[in-house]
Symmetry: C2
Subunit: 247 residues, 2 copies
Amino acid sequence: MAGDKVPSVWMRPGRQGREQPALNRAQIVAAALDLLDAQGVDALSMRKLGARLQAGATSLYTHVATKSELIELVVDEVYGEVEAPRTGDPDGWRAAVARCAASMRATILRHPWIVSVLGEAGVAYLGPNMSRLSEAMLAVFEEAGLSLEAADQAVNTVVAYVVGISASEAAWLATLARSGRSEREWAERLWPSAEHAVRDHPRLRALYAARRGRDPRGDRDGAFATGLDCVLQGLTARLAGQEANRV
Amino acid sequence: MAGDKVPSVWMRPGRQGREQPALNRAQIVAAALDLLDAQGVDALSMRKLGARLQAGATSLYTHVATKSELIELVVDEVYGEVEAPRTGDPDGWRAAVARCAASMRATILRHPWIVSVLGEAGVAYLGPNMSRLSEAMLAVFEEAGLSLEAADQAVNTVVAYVVGISASEAAWLATLARSGRSEREWAERLWPSAEHAVRDHPRLRALYAARRGRDPRGDRDGAFATGLDCVLQGLTARLAGQEANRV
DNA sequence: GGAAGATTCCGCACACTGTACGGATCTCAG
DNA sequence: CTGAGATCCGTACAGTGTGCGGAATCTTCC
């Protein structure tokens, strides 16, 4: 009877004796991030995560209330990778914002699974990293001459564009990763289906046809920058308008 | 591809007696949409969906290869609610695009769960409704004077903004719906947590404080329109630039 | 008629999920 | 030494997507 239950703590060579707690939040979040990056969103289960930490699944619940909470933590962790803009950038606010936007896009593309988690994470606006980022962008726009309300507007607009376009790119990348094929090959395979969908749509057909031979990676950066330029252009105009109103 | 069988929606009396196939794609997709709208994304399971159609769970697999495919179909169905812009709009291309964008946002807010499914749906660009929408927007931008490539750019930019901002609004609404509380009440409850997150961020604190008393619903429409105006302004500038280059 | 083949429906089973619960083991304060 | 509290985890439960095999029904051809 007594030998029935194995005191598993002893059987864990690296980890036995509890001179220190074996698990902690930061560690769990980091492992979850690893797992997500390596295997995608479907592979994140409490059991697998526990295994990766040489711990039981339910042990995690000592440090994390629920899986959703864990995901929110991971998402904020990812936001931590975004390079926030600084006020007083010698290249001007536009360059600062553009750099931040590029960093944000790169971060999302580095973690494509984040798109499928965007709904779960709900209001992650309260995480420390997201807060830091928002504050920094607000500061830059204020410095550029916008009121706080207008700066908020501007931040929301820019972030919406960046997240929107990065999400569609990331969704594409994630589908690729799931299928394990190269982009060219996959497009080739997709083509018949696309062709059908596109039968009555000459413009779409022309676009698809034009893209067939080209490397699709190359002009995505350009497309992002061009669109961002549009948004910033609009903001600049608004800024000028506000100054005009002030005078 | 589309099941061209006549909708056998009429009387299904007992459940047995199969004078006509009892299930079909369109019906399943419609029921899934209903379920999602009524109960949110967590409530969509094959078993529950089957029950709602008075069918077994695995029966659905005769008409739908996989749950992901079903979701893609539902997403395209939703896109079908978006009012596509028409060329030759008497109010000009800008108004046409703005109307379409507003319709798109309204559609997303009517189905907030779509955010949590945006990752699954992956490349839904091939659905008939999404295709129709893309083609229509391309046509409008072409009419405005853009090349096909530039029009594609423009469409992507506008859609990214609209989806991005609507997604963040929808995520908020979905969290609200999950908690079943009124927006004001929820914000009240959230406040302490927000206050902590915002301790070292004066601009964020000012924004939160300013929003405390106000009705948050009212200026969201305005915020959307303002941001969209920015984007369109930028596109207009680009259009002018292109014309200048041509001359 | 009746037989052969398709199509549709579904019960069962399997592997897997998030997490509630209660007990085991540890550390530390008194 | 005693208790309190933190931490870890085995077990269990309700629920998931879906593969499989069989049953019922419809269609087609003789």
